[in-house]
């Protein structure tokens, strides 16, 4: 389920990248679910050409997936094939992460790859192909070819069908409906084939990186997940644990088949150590040290040394990181004592009575009740009342953290915050637009100061947005 502010954020993203018209179509799909073109026209009250073009833009940028379903015809009529359009929420949000993806590629694969990816992300998929060829004339040619491709795909449904299967295994969204293929997504398939051909000549790693884009950014998300987990372990445990985890994730990356996995693929001690030794910091580690790190990561050492395999509980690392994030919000919003109480309840995972909470956390009974009530009112806690009828009637209040609903609320607030940051960035730019128009060398005195301030503001806002996005991924994608 997409939360309220998730929708608002994606509409704002689409609107800033592709304009209000496209945003309107996108919002319609986000709010009403998968629709046919005719229905989109009906709901948005735009004309057919506008809707069609907007859909093409969205499909081009992998934000909408089209598919056909066969409808039974009325009496005496042949069955009708209707094309449905399904919005890919995750992919829209990924647009916000492009700088992060670029930074990652630049770090891991070098500047050249970053340039290629940048082109790819900025001007939809076809143009990357161009960039790789590095010729301007090719660009023109390719663009005209795109239209041809579409026509071609429409005329060759067999080809389209072939690619459909691939697109589907990768999007992995609502896999319920898929027969036949409509014209636009055929284009996607076509492109895929082309770049694949090209990439076959490239180095192996590059090829994978490239495919990612068609694979709905899954590989990127996975890389960022690994990075996040390793970072978390490094701060929470130590460098040794981080090195071992990093080695395990590197060695198992190709064996994973989806992002949301609970445990890493089991690896033998030899394989783990082999991978550990590959990194510079890892070389200083002994086998004993690596084992100790595995224990820190929650693995149990086998009693006998035969068949020594380990698998890391990634889910618990991610859960811990999520807890940390929510806890820090509680700390800032409600104070130290509330933080202690919340952590107690979050760790306990079951109902705890008020007095017990007060005793364990060293918070005075009266204050405990107050804090618990505030947290409950703001939907952080779930409360249950129990009345006992003994010699005296007495009432007990029991509390617990309801992670399921709380996590949804937190995610929704994060989307809200991301939207707010984006609005503020736009607002700051708007306020200082006259300064931005003046060439930089002419900025002196007061103007230069204002320019410097705007720069600082943008850095703070944008870096906050990127950091917040890490947290959003932590709650939504990992």
């Amino acid at each position: 389920m997409v939360t309220q502010y998730g929708i608002k954020l994606s509409v704002s993203l689409i609107s800033s990248y592709f304009g209000n018209l496209v945003a309107k179509v996108c919002e319609c799909l986000l709010r009403r679910g998968t629709l046919s073109c005719a229905n989109i026209v009906r709901f948005t009250e735009l004309n057919k050409v506008q809707v069609r073009n907007s859909l093409l833009v969205l499909i081009q940028h992998n934000c909408v997936q089209a598919f056909s379903i066969q409808q039974e015809g009325s009496f005496g009529e042949a069955p009708k094939v209707v094309t449905q359009y399904m919005v890919l929420f995750d992919n829209i949000i990924h647009h916000m992460r492009f700088p992060k993806f670029l930074a990652y590629v630049s770090e891991e694969l070098g500047k050249e790859c970053e340039d290629i990816l940048e082109g790819l992300l900025q001007h939809a998929e076809e143009e990357t192909v161009v960039k790789k060829q590095g010729a301007k004339s090719a660009k023109v040619m390719k663009e005209s070819e795109t239209i041809e491709q579409r026509a071609l795909a429409a005329a060759a449904p067999m080809e389209a069908l072939r690619f459909l299967v691939e697109t589907y295994t990768e999007t992995d969204c609502c896999g319920e409906e898929s027969e036949g293929n409509p014209l636009p997504s055929a284009t996607v398939g076509e492109k895929r084939k082309q770049s694949d051909l090209e990439l076959d000549t490239e180095a192996g790693t590059k090829k994978r990186r490239k495919e990612v884009l068609y694979a709905n950014f899954e590989e990127f998300v996975r890389c960022l997940r690994d990075k996040g987990c390793i970072g978390n372990v490094r701060t929470r445990l130590d460098d040794g644990a981080a090195i071992v985890l990093s080695a395990i994730l590197k060695a198992t990356r190709s064996a994973e088949n989806k992002v949301k996995i609970e445990n890493s693929v089991p690896l033998s001690m030899d394989t783990i150590f082999e991978e550990v030794m590959k990194s510079e910091e890892g070389r200083s580690m002994t086998l004993e040290r690596a084992r100790a790190s595995l224990v820190q990561l929650g693995c149990h050492l086998p009693e006998i040394g035969i068949d020594e395999t380990y698998s890391i509980d990634l889910k618990s690392i991610i859960e811990l990181a999520q807890n940390e994030e929510v806890e820090s919000i509680v700390l800032k919003r409600y104070g130290r004592e509330a933080y202690r109480i919340f952590r107690l309840l979050s760790k306990a995972g079951h109902l705890v009575e008020t007095d017990k909470i007060s005793n364990t956390t060293f918070v005075a009974k009266k204050d405990t009740a107050k804090i618990l009530y505030t947290l409950w009112k703001d939907d952080y806690l779930h409360m249950e009342k129990i009345v006992t009828y003994g010699s005296k009637q007495s009432q007990f209040l029991l509390w617990k953290v309801n992670k399921h609903t709380l996590w949804d609320n937190v995610l929704n607030e994060m989307y809200h915050t991301a939207l707010n940051l984006r609005i503020r960035i736009a607002h700051e730019q708007e306020q200082e637009k006259e300064i931005l128009r003046i060439p930089r060398e002419k900025l002196v005195g007061e103007l230069a100061k204002r320019y410097a301030r705007l720069r600082k503001v943008r850095i703070v806002l944008e870096s906050s947005l990127m950091k917040l996005d890490d947290a959003i991924m932590l709650f939504h994608d990992f």
Partner: protein, 236 residues
């Protein structure tokens, strides 16, 4: 016949204990004593003895005057007058446990203990609750006696504060002196821990801690464009 012989003796014997027992003072004293270290609330006394309020009040005063009973604070209902026989010490339920002094949480004592615990942990790296308790006794850190389970409570709350963390001994390296599987406490090894809670991405942005976020809309009265918190945040 028999009757005439027995009745005078009965008459003579009975009055003495009976008059004593039936005086409101002794009735109340017996009742209070029967409650042991739990004591009893004045309202409950009236209900159980069926004595009128002024009588109870008077009797309680006399008993207190003779130092046979004492008034104690009940942590659960501080406003109520609660009495207990002089020879008893108030139970944990009444006082709220070792951490309460006269019905109030002894924050100062707790803070002192926490501080010493964190110093000891930093010094010893890895230590069990017992280890800390021994250390405190040996070095006479507090004059007040501190039981191991009390130290354990302090440590648990420090874990909740993210100042230290609980681990199971592996018996290797730093843990060599602690039996495998025993719960022990240590300060951080990583970079982030030990300095208290980490500030998350959300909490470092005004919206993350904004009490009005539910009323904030892009073009509403509360909006990121006009937000006071943002203004302060971005004031360079």
């Amino acid at each position: 016949m028999n009757r005439s012989q027995e009745s005078p003796s009965l008459k003579r014997k009975r009055p003495e204990p009976n008059t004593h027992a039936q005086s409101p003072e002794s009735v109340l004293l017996n009742l209070i004593k029967s409650k042991g270290d739990m004591g009893i609330w004045k309202g409950d006394m009236k209900r159980e003895t069926n004595l009128p309020e002024p009588v109870v009040n008077k009797a309680l005063k006399t008993l207190q005057g003779k130092a046979l009973i004492k008034e104690v604070v009940n942590i659960k209902s501080k406003g109520r007058k609660h009495f207990m026989a002089a020879e008893f010490e108030p139970s944990k339920e009444l006082t709220g446990g070792a951490w309460y002094v006269e019905g109030k949480l002894d924050q100062e004592f707790i803070a002192v203990l926490k501080d010493s615990c964190s110093k000891i942990i930093r010094k010893l790296k890895v230590v069990t609750a017992e280890g800390i308790s021994d250390f405190i006794k040996r070095n006479k850190i507090t004059t007040i006696e501190c039981k191991t389970h009390q130290i354990e409570e302090i440590l648990k709350s420090m874990v909740l504060d993210n100042e230290i963390f609980e681990v199971k001994s592996t018996g290797l390296g730093e843990y060599h002196s602690i039996p495998i599987g025993t719960a022990c406490y240590r300060s951080s090894t990583g970079m982030g821990l030990g300095q208290g809670p980490k500030i998350g991405a959300m909490a470092s942005i005004p919206c993350g801690v904004c009490p009005r976020i539910s009323r904030c809309t892009p073009d509403g009265i509360i909006s990121p464009k006009t937000c006071e918190y943002y203004k302060k945040w971005l004031d360079f």
